[in-house]
Amino acid sequence: MAGQVAPTNLDFEYRFGFSMPEKNVFKAKKGISEDIVAMISDMKDEPKWMKEFRLRAYKIFKEKKMPEWGADLSKINFDDIFYFIRPTEAQVNSWEDLPEEIKTTYDKIGVPEAEKKFLAGVSAQYESEVVYESINKELDKQGVIFCDMDTGLKKYPELVKEYFGTLIPAHDNKFAALNSAVWSGGSFVYVPKGVHVNLPLQAYFRINAERFGQFERTLIIAEEGSYVHYIEGCTAPIYTTQSLHSAVVEIFVKKGARVRYTTVQNWSKNIYNLVTKRAKAEDNAVMEWIDCNLGSGVTMKYPSVYLTGKGARGEVLSIAFAGKDQHQDAGAKMLHMAPNTSSRIVSKSISKEGGRTSYRGLVYVHPKAKKSNVYVSCDALILDEESRSDTYPYMKIKQSDTSIQHEATVEKLGEEKLFYLTSRGLSRADAEGLLVNGFIEPITKEIPLEYSVELNRLINLEMIGSVG
């Protein structure tokens, strides 16, 4: 069935734009330097290899140029950002034990409520560190690990060392280097062989401070034949100054395993969201990215799947919504390195009130990847004359025995469809909301109900007061 909620006629406001007084236990001075990088590592009492990894990454960050393609990043001032804020003395596993400001924040966002209803585990990051964490006891018994990355490094140093930074090395791009140097928080997930985690695990990321940089680092390892669904959500207060969110996510999907990673990104518009996400899928493994970008001022994000094993399957379903002062430069990368691999990219973008969406995708088929299957579909919906949408689909096919299907459409929200719906009694705003929800329905139906409801609601809110 199509969209689960009725479009509601509310005045649009970014519901999560509130901020709380800063009551941090530690805030590093503004800007980035070798000292700051070393200090973060020291404060976390990290093993030597990690400190060295950070310092090497910092050098790479300084040498790397800003990307010369994609969105406009010229206004980012790396010296005007706080790189590390420790929000609390210690992590807790009961919401009640959180400081009042932080607890109120999560209550307003609705995380504790969601946890009760349908999640197997929750991690909540506030500024630089995870302040709350809990996991279903059953999963714990089965050997599933779900903790923040800092704890992961402390408790499972060998496991972390084996995988960390191997899929996205520091020199991958400038922002991966920056993250590698100053990373803090994020999730560490380990699912043992054959274990199916039936309910989703969720991480929630919140930025509260002004001019802040959040650099979480996530590592997911799904052993043979296992399954896990990881969901992340994110919000921030509205400030007139810019903040930066630059995460790195690495996922290892072993033989026959399946990982689904869902993002509902709803940062406030003063956030630069520059994220590197990559997964490696081994024989017959399945990796699915469901990537919904509604918020932030600028997003550059192209979740990738390296299909390294025979019969591996990769999927990216992405929704981008760009309103006033927003540029969503999003897409996907699929690298077919083995025979019989298949990939599917479905991108739906919506732009209005001068917003801009860009689909940027790369599909590469290696000569070894015989009988591979590629499907790319990108649809753009433009709601008014001021808005813009571009498509940059790159394909490098080095194997002729490949099946390729590529579809792209650009449509304007048609006056005729709006007239049809208003003639049936729907207000213009409701009609727009209904059409937009219908447009993204192929993707929202893949998202857990609770999230698709939230997503439809968010889009309805964004729609109110648009064209006409």
């Binding site: 069935m1 199509a2 969209g3 009725a6 479009p7 048609g414 006056e415 005729e416 469809k417 007239f419 049809y420 719906l421 208003t422 003639s423 049936r424 009694g425 729907l426 207000s427 213009r428 409701d430 209904l434 059409l435 929800n437 219908g438 447009f439 993204i440 329905e441 192929p442």
Partner: protein, 237 residues
Amino acid sequence: MLDLKNLSVTVEKRKIIKNFSYSFKPGKIYVIMGPNGSGKSSLAYSIMGHPSYKISTKSRISLDKKRIDNIAPEKRSGKGIFLSFQSPLSLSGVTVRELLRLASPNRDPLEVRQQTDKYADELKISKELLTRSLNEGASGGEKKKLETLQAAVLDKKIMIFDEIDTGVDVDALRAIATFLRKHKKNKTYILITHYNRILKYLKPDKVLILIDGDLKKVGDKKLASQIEKKGYLKLVS
């Protein structure tokens, strides 16, 4: 009850309805006929309030003596007008059930759903069509049945059917026409059509002939069969 007075309509500066005046009375069945391009659909769109159809300052459309030509389509719908489209567009990801629920905000959603299912049954619309994107991949007959279904659930006092009988096979036509007859009650039907076949089921009280945006002739049901025999040219010359 629905009064059109000096209605002149232009689309992209082209005049398509010229000084049309007519009063539609409650409970009657009207048929509007005319050659292709004579302005029949434009008349329907203008009554419903399509934003691209500009009416002249002298034009008046009123319902129960209140002007409606200056209000939005959804308001006109609220006052009791329904338009069944000649070529209904397909709406991706929007089901007819959902559309009808949203279009009936003051009714119990469950009741709307039950009524939708019941009428769909009467119209021989398969359940699958109710849960699928509206009109997407539907046949001509299915589309017109879905329009009829919406008309019945939304239940307005004036219903305009723009070529409800075009592109439908004999069985679908019978299903639609008998359904409309059964649910007619005290409503006003305005049927835009090229053919007499639907008039076997729905006997018109008046037949209006529109040519080149002009109301050329008004008659009883005999006029419709004359047109079928002789054509428009002979009739008006």
